[in-house]
Symmetry: C2
Subunit: 200 residues, 2 copies
């Protein structure tokens, strides 16, 4: 008989299924972009039926917000080296480790198209997280400012964004995430001088 080709029914249900759909949504977004995200595409990638998606979510955007919310949270940088330069590089490394993940790709895609889909960006902020305060270098900077390793007056809305800004700009220009050496250069040539430690 040879009923042939391994039919593995093993039907997913409940949470396991939802997780698979979330993953598929993020992967689909990364591949086709926000404008092309469709229930049909997500279902296909998750190897399930559209019906299953519509039973839980009304639109691809709604599904997407859920998927981002359920994604693993960002590692939070800590100041452990007792050395500002080392800890800043570590904080930017956390950022560059996060950036290539599906969830980060999704977050960046949503934010960069916020003019086109304002409701989606809004949902990201209200239902997932509020990153307006910044979370990478500023964690480290606040630590050192509180412990006397840094003049608190140097903590401004500008200086706390320099590291992240440079990482994004380099990623844009190079089409890849910065290397460890490039992160060190950002810290040495841009961040530390702005914090009151002259270069050279």
């Amino acid at each position: 008989m040879e009923k042939a080709v391994a039919r593995a029914p093993e039907r997913r249900r409940g949470e396991a299924l939802v997780r698979a759909i979330h993953e598929a949504a993020l992967a689909e977004l990364a591949e086709v972009g926000l404008g092309q995200l469709s229930m049909e595409g997500i279902a296909r990638r998750a190897s399930t039926a559209k019906t299953v998606l519509y039973r839980r979510w009304a639109s691809p955007h709604e599904l997407l917000v859920d998927a981002v919310a359920q994604a693993h949270p960002v590692e939070v940088p800590t100041a452990t080296a007792d050395d500002l330069r080392t800890d800043l590089i570590a904080a930017l490394t956390v950022l560059t480790d996060w950036m290539p993940t599906p969830a980060a790709t999704a977050v960046l895609a949503i934010i960069s198209e916020r003019h086109r889909y304002p409701a989606l960006a809004e949902a990201l902020y209200t239902e997932v997280f509020d990153p307006r305060g910044g979370t990478f270098t500023s964690t480290v900077l606040r630590h050192y400012a509180a412990n006397g390793g840094l003049d608190p007056r140097r903590l401004t809305p500008i200086t706390t964004q320099i590291g992240e800004a440079m990482v994004f700009k380099l990623s844009m220009d190079l089409g890849r995430v910065p290397t460890r050496d490039e992160l060190a250069a950002i810290v040495d040539e841009a961040l530390l001088p702005a914090l009151g430690f002259p270069p050279g």
Copy 2:
């Protein structure tokens, strides 16, 4: 009789038509995004027929590269104030003036989706311009470095990108282009310190 509703034939031809199509392409891109850009949409917006587009371009992307190439070139910043700070702010103002234009919107959209459409980004670089060298603050910086107003060793791939990086980051975070005061803060708190002029 009343053949009614003002029929204004006034048929566009040649260059005038092409210009209108280019404008329509950039406007359409700004509105619907790169993923949704279609010949149908561009034709609709330009009030012409798809046939006319297909006679000249094989795809929306090809048309788009043409449109960007024909767009008005970016104003080039000059160092005229004999004052580094003032000229840097002026250079960033040129950048923020350019950013809201249709051509700039298109360029940024293409670059930010370069992973999705690598051929398009490549065409942008080879057929339009090569912005990898930077053109805004670096013009000013090179001028001052050559004339002794700035230590040439402070001119690095990092420092020449700080201004632009901060403008982009602020635009991303705020959803709008930075104000003049914010540009001044970027120069005072990030750029000048990195160039060897300590803050405070």
